[in-house]
Amino acid sequence: MSRRRLPRPSRRQFLAGTAAVGVAATGGAAWMLTDDPKDFIVAMIRRSVPYVEFEPGAIEEFAASYYDKVQVQRRGNIEKISKMARGIGMPLTETVLDGNEKYENFRRTTVSTFLIGTDFFDETRDTTKPVAYFGINPCGRNPFAEFA
């Protein structure tokens, strides 16, 4: 079974793309952190894949159900980071947490869980449309798996 190679933009293209999304998004409330820790999850996802356009409300819907499912202890940690981000802003928070294994693990696994709950990796998806969110599979399906 062959798979389509995903386009790989250069670092320069990446930065340009990020800026464009940033400008487009700053007008909306999505970048505003309230005292709801779920906003932090939304911001973290946006900043991790700024070059992907999702359907409006998709990340928010994921963040709500994801936060609902995480363990109580983890929630406490998310609340702490969220509070920090409200105080010093997302960019500085990311700088502070740079190299923090627990945060990096949380960020990557959360973003991955979100992405695989969308049609982002679906090779048949209409790429002219924003990426749609379908929901969290509690077991985290692997869309790349191939079987013997």
Binding site: R3, L6, P7, R8, P9, R11, F14, G17, S48, V49, Y51, K69, E101, N105, R107, R108, T109, T110, V111, S112, L115, I116, F121, N137, P138, C139, G140, R141, N142, F144, A145, E146, F147, A148
Partner: protein, 480 residues
Amino acid sequence: MQFIQPDQTAGPWDLVVVGSGFGALFFLHSYLQRHPDKKVLMLEWGRHNTTDWQLEQFQNSDIPPLTTFTNESPKSWNFTIGLGGGTNCWSGMTPRMHPNDFRLKSLYGRGMDWPISYDDLMEDYDWAERIMLISGPDDMGKMFPGAGNYPQKPHRMSAPDRLLKAASPDVFFSAPCAKLSEAVEGRSACCSNGSCSLCPTKAKFYGIDNMTFVFDNPAVQICTGARVRYIDAAGDTAKAVVFESGGRSYTVPAELVVLGANGIHAPFILQQSGITDGAPGAYIGEKMLALVEIFLDGLEHFDGGTSTTAVDLRYVDGPHRAEGGANLYWSENSFQWSGLRLEPPNRFREVLPVAITVEDELLADNAVVDTGGDLPKVVHAGFSDYAMQGLQRAIDKVPEVFAALPIEDVQFRRIEPTTDHLQGSLRMGTDKATSVVDPGQVHHRVRNLVVVGTSVFPTTSWANPSLTCAAMSLRLGRTM
């Protein structure tokens, strides 16, 4: 399953089995084939939590392990209290141990030799693999004599795995595991979800679903919610097992007692019984589990057919074991370990998570302790220098081991808080002073008391323990 109430347990019983995990189940399976007429009582602390209940509740048991002991150590410990014990929560990885794992002291001057050998277990390894429908490669005999007759074909390797196999065919293998590669009645094939402690497809082997021939055996009566507190023994004989349920205490006379509680609770039961010969509880430990990530240049991963697709075994044995623990490298096909790669953009799959297990040395000061209360206390100093040295060597060797891949970067991520394996707290040996049970897993003094489970392991090995535990228990049951 024939469940009985605590007030129906008066007996008499030929056999009282404490616990219902790997050790107990595999022992009973072979024992009952030879002794079908024996009357068996299974006393299980936990409830019967069906696999559907576990999936719905998103947990293996309603009794969190941390509520059953106090922990005075920098690391944590994990297990399941419930019918089926660790066969519920386990991830289903099933390597055999290496023949030299049984001779660590005589070959490398570390730890202790086992009083049994690989050859003693060969037949039962094979049997355990058939019972659990292990999927694995047919060339595994290159590493483990006699291995490779797996009942299920191996899972598909990922693209990086296939390059590694081509480069190192004698030490790199598709990973043996108790997760179906082909569906059987009532169970789907593994779909590579990676949430194996709660398998949604029933591809993973669960004792409560897949060893019903033990639970449903007419000889076996099961009492759940029965926490065994102590064994009433006089001289060299165990007379009865005392358990509590619903705030009441019950005494069950027994001809033979099989102690299959886990590596924390089994020694505690002996301590509370005053059966302290050979220092039960001492030497508790487990191997180490760490994670590195190999960032790949232009090669995509995660296309394998199960959550852990392959294993590199080149350093599971060798003279390096004199200085630091042996190790293996697992190729992890699940992005639940550390997620997809997020930077640079659109290279999500260009990363290979590698889990490394490293053997640790079991030390006397690390112990399950009876402080006189209701719960055991685990006092442990954390992974030893032996394990740390083994880990360092394992990380240093990553570029060599994975040289067939286009490696962009290697990053050490973390040591996991626990490997989920409890070992060594009731170790087997020939010397009464330094071991609790003899080579036949019979208590050195109390001769009608048998211990099953991973608590009898004298060393941790680098290998996941449950297949070996199952094989040892089958052997015991058929030779007793």
